[in-house]
Symmetry: C2
Subunit: 129 residues, 2 copies
């Protein structure tokens, strides 16, 4: 498929992916996809990433039920970064982070240190059964 | 400095960085920083990246005048991705992309191909003198 060949995959065969929430435009998370993951994401309309730690396809929400419905797939000017517009399913407001928070970017730099500034919306122990 | 040691730098000593526009929340661009770049960004309040192609510090806007004022520096749950909230200076609306567009993510996946969907706001030839 030609559109997959347009991507400049990195030396590990991966492309970095930013997931942004439709509506709020909040950046929810950052992960990677390989060719198979991006093809699956486009085909099923739900985000499928490549888990580098587990070295396998990772259908986001497969354990937590927090799937991501994909509305838009964007590619950057260098053809080496993907941006998804998603609806974060399974909880209101959406929980994208494995810590039970809305977004993974909950640590803010403040005067020489990182401070956690966003609340846990749901206990991770009750998300991952 | 301890807050820099908290970051899980990759095998090249870099961390991926997402630049998001304050207000609109638009994702403008994606780049990398090394330790020195992130320290400089925090110290001067303007985005300083590491250019992988040129292998040197890249003070965004140094050629174009399109600097990025940094309002917020966030770190993700795994301590290996940075998110900046910025004001894209030098043009209204902001131009973050070297193609003269607002955002680098101007190609949209549509039915098996990538389509350019965002306009050029200023001729790149007149940006890079």
């Amino acid at each position: 498929m030609n559109w997959l060949d347009d991507i400049r995959w990195d030396r590990d065969g991966l492309v970095p992916v930013i997931a942004q929430e439709l509506g709020s435009n909040d950046v929810l998370m950052f992960a990677y996809m390989n060719r198979e993951a991006l093809a699956a994401t486009a085909a099923r309309g739900q985000a499928v990433y490549w888990s580098r730690s587990r070295q396998r396809l990772w259908h986001k929400g497969e354990e937590s039920g927090h799937f991501q419905t994909v509305h838009d797939i964007r590619l950057d000017c260098d053809n080496d970064v993907v941006l998804l517009k998603v609806t974060q399913e399974g909880h209101q407001p959406g929980i994208a982070c494995h810590t039970g928070r809305h977004s993974c970017f909950f640590q803010r730099y403040d005067d020489g240190q990182w401070t956690t500034v966003d609340p846990v919306l749901k206990d991770p122990g009750s998300i991952y059964r």
